[in-house]
C-alpha cells in the first residue's frame, strides 16, 4: 500500500485521483508501444510545465512560514536540476523547446501562476502536494524497464516518494477551506495534460 492511500486529500478527491494518475500515454510507456512523437510532445510540454511550476514554487516558498518551507526550497533546487536534465534529454533527441505551448499545458500553467499570487500558503501547499503526488502515483504504476526506464525511475524512486510525503504532511497539517477544491482542480488539469500528450 502506498503512503498516499492514507492521504485525506487523496481520499476525498474520489474518482478524480484515479482519473488523474492513469492514462493511455502511461499504459503505452509500460508496454513499450508509445509512439516517439507522443513521447517528444510530452517532453517539450512537460518542460514548459516545469518552468511554470518553478515560478509557482518560488512564490509558494516566499509565502510559507520559515518552519515549513525547507522542503519547498529543497524541491526548488531539484526542480531546477530537473530542467537541466530535460534540456539534456531534448538535445539528445534533437528537440527544441520553442515549439508552441499546447493549450492544455497553458491552462495548467496559468492556473498555477494565478493561484500562487492570489491564494494563501496553505492552499499552495495543497496544490503542490497534488502536482507531485499525482506524478508519483502515475509513474509508480509502471515497471521501471524498457526504453523509458530512466523516466519511470525518476518519478517513482524512494527519494521522490519521501519528498512527496513531506509535502503531504505540510498540506494536511495546514488544511484550508479551499485546499480540497484546489487539490481537485490540480487532478483535473493532470488528467487533461495526459490526454493532451496522447492525443496531441
Amino acid at each position: 500500500m502506498s503512503r498516499l492511500d492514507g492521504s485525506l486529500l487523496v481520499l476525498r478527491a474520489g474518482t478524480r485521483w484515479k482519473d488523474a494518475t492513469t492514462a493511455a500515454f502511461l499504459d503505452a510507456i509500460n508496454d513499450s508501444t508509445l509512439p516517439p512523437e507522443a513521447f517528444n510532445r510530452w517532453l517539450v510540454q512537460d518542460y514548459h510545465f516545469a518552468d511554470a511550476l518553478t515560478s509557482f514554487q518560488a512564490i509558494a516558498a516566499a509565502k510559507t512560514p520559515r518552519q515549513s518551507r525547507k522542503s519547498l526550497i529543497a524541491g526548488l533546487g531539484a526542480l531546477d536540476a530537473e530542467m537541466d536534465w530535460f534540456e539534456a534529454q531534448a538535445s539528445a533527441r534533437g528537440l527544441e523547446f520553442n515549439a508552441p505551448v499546447h493549450e492544455g499545458c497553458r491552462r495548467y500553467c496559468d492556473f498555477l501562476i494565478q493561484a500562487a499570487y492570489r491564494e494563501p500558503y496553505p492552499v499552495l501547499l495543497a496544490i503542490l502536494f497534488g502536482v507531485e503526488a499525482s506524478y508519483l502515483a502515475a509513474w509508480s504504476r509502471l515497471s521501471p524497464k524498457g526504453p523509458y526506464a530512466e523516466f519511470i525511475d525518476r518519478w517513482s524512486n524512494p527519494r521522490f516518494a519521501d519528498y512527496v510525503e513531506s509535502l503531504r504532511v505540510l498540506a494536511e497539517d495546514n488544511l484550508h477551506k479551499s485546499s480540497q477544491r484546489y487539490f481537485n482542480d490540480v487532478l483535473t488539469h493532470e488528467r487533461e495534460f495526459w490526454r493532451m500528450t496522447w492525443e496531441g
Binding site: 515560478s55 493549450e103 497553458r106 491552462r107 500553467c109 496559468d110 492556473f111 498555477l112 501562476i113 494565478q114 500562487a116 499570487y117 492570489r118
Partner: protein, 207 residues
C-alpha cells in the same frame, strides 16, 4: 498603430466570433433564453476577473496618465457589471454562486496570471481583444437589428458611444505602452482564441 496591426493579425478569429451561432442568435433574436442566462452568469464571473486585471495593471503601471486611463477602464467594467447585475436579477441568477466553465476559467486564469506575473504591456495586450471584439460585435449587430429583438439592450450597450470610447481608450493605451513583440502578439492572439472558446462554451453546456 500597434492596436490595428494586432487586430488585423487576428481578424479571422474576430470574424469567427461574429459568425458564431451564439452571436448569430443575439443578432437575430433567436438565441435560447437559457443560453443567454448561462452567458450572463459566466460573463459576470469573467468581468470580475477582468476588473481585477485592470486594477493590477494600474498598480504596476508607471506615469499618472496611464494610471488615470486604467482607473477609467476599470470603472467601465464596474458599470458593465452593474448591467449584468440587472440582467441577473431579472433572470434570477445568483452571481455570487457562479462556478466558471472550463473555457471561462482558462480565460480568467490566463488574464490573472498575466496581470500578476508578466509586464503591464502584456496585460493590456491580453485585455484589448475583449474590448475591441465586443465593440465590433455590437457595431455589426446594430446594423441589422430587427424590431422586438430581446437582446437589443446588449447590442445597444456594445455599439454605444460610451463603450466605443472605452475601446478607443484601451487601444490608445496599448499603443502607448506596448511594442510589437512575441509576448504581446501571443497575449493578444490567445485572448482572442479564449473569446471564441467562451462563446462555444455557452452552447456546449446544456445543463
Amino acid at each position: 498603430m500597434l492596436h490595428e496591426i494586432l487586430w488585423q493579425q487576428n481578424v479571422r478569429l474576430a470574424e469567427a466570433c461574429l459568425h458564431h451561432p451564439f452571436v448569430r442568435g443575439l443578432a437575430n433574436g433567436t438565441l435560447e433564453p437559457e443560453a443567454f442566462r448561462r452567458y450572463v452568469a459566466q460573463d459576470a464571473f469573467f468581468l470580475n476577473a477582468f476588473a481585477r486585471a485592470y486594477a493590477l495593471a494600474a498598480a504596476r503601471s508607471q506615469g499618472e496618465e496611464t494610471l488615470v486611463s486604467l482607473c477609467e477602464l476599470l470603472n467601465g467594467v464596474l458599470r458593465e457589471l452593474q448591467l449584468h447585475a440587472g440582467y441577473a436579477k431579472e433572470l434570477k441568477i445568483e452571481l455570487a454562486r457562479v462556478q466558471p466553465y472550463r473555457a471561462v476559467a482558462a480565460y480568467t486564469d490566463f488574464l490573472l496570471a498575466t496581470a500578476w506575473q508578466r509586464e503591464p504591456d502584456e496585460t493590456i495586450a491580453a485585455m484589448t481583444p475583449c474590448m475591441r471584439l465586443y465593440g465590433h460585435l455590437g457595431t455589426e449587430l446594430a446594423k441589422t437589428i430587427g424590431a422586438g429583438n430581446p437582446y437589443q439592450q446588449w447590442i445597444t450597450t456594445y455599439s454605444g458611444p460610451d463603450f466605443l470610447a472605452l475601446v478607443a481608450r484601451v487601444e490608445s493605451l496599448l499603443d502607448s505602452m506596448a511594442e510589437e513583440s512575441l509576448a504581446v502578439r501571443d497575449a493578444y492572439a490567445y485572448a482572442m482564441r479564449c473569446e471564441l472558446n467562451f462563446f462555444s462554451a455557452m452552447l456546449e453546456h446544456n445543463a
